[in-house]
Symmetry: C2
Subunit: 410 residues, 2 copies
């Protein structure tokens, strides 16, 4: 045949990645099933060494809620994961949470960390633990078809919704006269995410109506507040702004988090999330992409100094890379362009090459700037069975839709 032109065939590459991503999702879920379960007390270990052995048995509440969500969503929506063991592990973790997560009986708060047997260890002054309880328990209720889990979720969501709008928080962060009024993108995103979760996706979850009335209000409020972080003629996403959507002075106002800022478009349910956000977030993604790929953890641009001394700014973390894969496929689905496919291929290749551990499974979380592994752990207090599995699931779904030429939802 000899030499010839190589024909650029995006379908070919996307199809190859569809296979690779599906196999990786299977392997990643198998890693967590093998190593993270606690058959004695229920719930999940997340402090796993490179080979999966538990190096600390503290149970982190963010990661309980997140792993419950992943298992339940997989069980509910992906036929090959409809295995009773997955649902059972999620159930046991849900029961563990409901029995133990309050720092004191009757408290409205959820702890950040529990001992292996469920005694409270630590509490954060923010509402992320409670939000992840809401996300996990709602999805568990949908997967198990049991209303009581969803009722628990609604109670956590109601607390988050109150705090987000300024209700006083038991053991929360005290506000002082010198603290500038501010809102964090991460908080607005969590409200949006919890609202969308409770709302559900009418297309594939028709039985979920009627939804609690606060779901739509939360999603709307969250989306509106997320958009306030688009600044400077939609050219940057700033992590912290004033409640009126103005820039804040000092380091606080300069912080950008690429993981939350640009691939933010990849967050939330792609159908709902994007119908709210995509058109606005999209234009700022591409310049960001070309400047910072592979994504440093915080922007090194001197005009956007990290908050004071964010020591890890030049590291490469797994989750912004996973989110970027999602974001690029979502972009391709809604506004297809050849450049998006080649960017997806570039990010996916880098991510699989550098983060994936072919020897023991799962991904490394923390690389140095040069791509070498900085911490060989597979999990810790912030990395568990969540970002990787969720991103692979979302990529799989979107690749299927793109390859089948399905119309994106309006």
């Amino acid at each position: 045949v000899g030499r010839g032109l190589v024909v650029w065939n995006p379908q070919f590459w996307l199809r190859a990645w569809r296979g690779r991503i599906g196999a990786e999702l299977d392997a990643v879920v198998a890693f967590w099933e093998r190593h993270s379960h606690d058959p004695e007390h229920g719930g999940f270990f997340s402090c796993l060494s490179r080979d999966g052995s538990v190096y600390d048995d503290t149970k982190f509440v963010w990661l309980q809620g997140r792993q419950i969500w992943v298992y339940s969503r997989l069980y509910r929506t992906v036929p090959r994961f409809r295995r009773p063991e997955l649902l059972e592990a999620a159930r046991k973790a849900g029961e563990f949470l409901e029995s133990h997560v309050r720092p004191e009986p009757g408290s409205t708060r959820a702890a950040f960390a529990l001992s292996r047997d469920g005694r409270p260890v630590r509490l954060q002054r923010s509402f992320y633990s409670e939000a992840f309880c809401a996300l996990g328990l709602d999805e568990l209720g949908r997967a198990a078809g049991e209303e009581r889990y969803r009722a628990w979720a609604r109670r956590w969501a109601g607390a988050v919704w109150g705090w987000a709008r300024g209700a006083p928080m038991e053991l929360g962060r005290p506000r002082f006269s010198g603290t500038p009024p501010q809102q964090a993108l991460a908080q607005a995103m969590m409200v949006l995410k919890v609202g969308l979760q409770l709302w559900g996706d009418p297309r594939r979850d028709p039985q979920s109506q009627p939804e609690p009335p606060e779901a739509e209000a939360m999603a709307e409020w969250g989306a509106r507040h997320v958009l306030m972080h688009l600044q400077r003629g939609d050219s940057v996403v700033l992590e912290n702004v004033s409640p009126e959507g103005e820039e804040l002075p000092g380091s606080l106002g300069r912080l950008m988090n690429p993981g939350e800022g640009d691939p933010n478009l990849g967050r939330g349910d792609p159908s709902l999330g994007f119908s709210h956000n995509f058109s606005l977030f999209f234009p700022i993604f591409l310049p960001f992409f070309s400047h910072f790929f592979p994504f440093l953890y915080f922007s090194p641009n001197s005009h956007f100094l990290p908050r004071f001394a964010q020591l890890e700014w030049s590291m490469k973390l797994w989750w912004p890379h996973a989110e970027a894969m999602v974001a690029l496929l979502a972009a391709q689905r809604f506004q297809p362009r050849p450049s998006l496919v080649s960017q997806f291929l570039q990010v996916a290749q880098y991510t699989f090459d550098k983060f994936r551990d072919p020897e023991h499974g799962e991904w490394f979380g923390y690389l140095n700037r040069d791509g070498s592994v900085a911490l060989s752990i597979k999990g810790g207090p912030y990395k568990g069975c969540f970002h990787v599995a969720r991103a692979l699931l979302m990529c799989e779904e979107m690749l299927d839709a793109i390859l089948e030429g399905e119309e994106p939802p309006q």
Copy 2:
């Protein structure tokens, strides 16, 4: 003359370093005098860019207390620094603290951060802000010869002393049933340090008697608790142990902080600090030294996993290097050996080569593992006018004593 034997003459090298260190101390103090003062409100900026410009005007309370201590100690004990401007800046910062540091009027707590004009911004759930207020104000009182600053210091010290022994702390960290009883080396060290500061050094500060009775009790308690962190046959210094001095399970129990662990011998007043601690800490320093020089920020030994995911574990920070210079000279003063001098020369050379900024003055704080600069800032919420100046001052004093063949105090 031709080729010849090079005679190893430690006195020659130590004398050369005495000159270099003295000049560096002058330059470092000049950097902070030029860039960190706030003539309008008093107090010090610590968020300085590489060239000294202020990138954020938040005033961090640890660094107010620490800079007050450095200026006052220099003014009081080093003739060439007996300049009214230094004392005046320390005084203005002391008055700024006393007027503004409480998060609310009448509070027993000191904020962690203040706005430029002194409104409280943030509070930590630990007692380090209060301890640094005590250190700075006591030294200011000695330098200015004014009892009222020392009375302020005693009030802060009394609060720290109560909290260290378990008194409930307003807005402190809540303790839950799953939190293992634990004590942190950093807290014991701060109690020791505050106790030694209030106690004073009778040799050079004869007018300081009588001291408050709690000073000796604090120093004794602090020293005793510091020593409880020596574990495994005095072969390691663990950051966290049980109140009975037993090892703790999990990541919490494995944490080692070289900056606090081994060059801990360099902390505190060298005369008192060492007479209490040195003989015990010394044996563990040397193996540590050879394993980890130049010092990584957290121990990479897999048996001593950093607490969960200490992202910065492989970075090199300025302060453990500065403390190591002090520790090696202290060791040389008390138990002289040729190897200590050559190790001091090695650490000092590396530290000056890599951390010192010959272009704009002061030292970089945060290097990557390979010695390249990770963050070009000269200060932030934890780096200000303290470790570098204090270490240079202590090295200068000890080099003088070593070179003059002075007997170490008993």
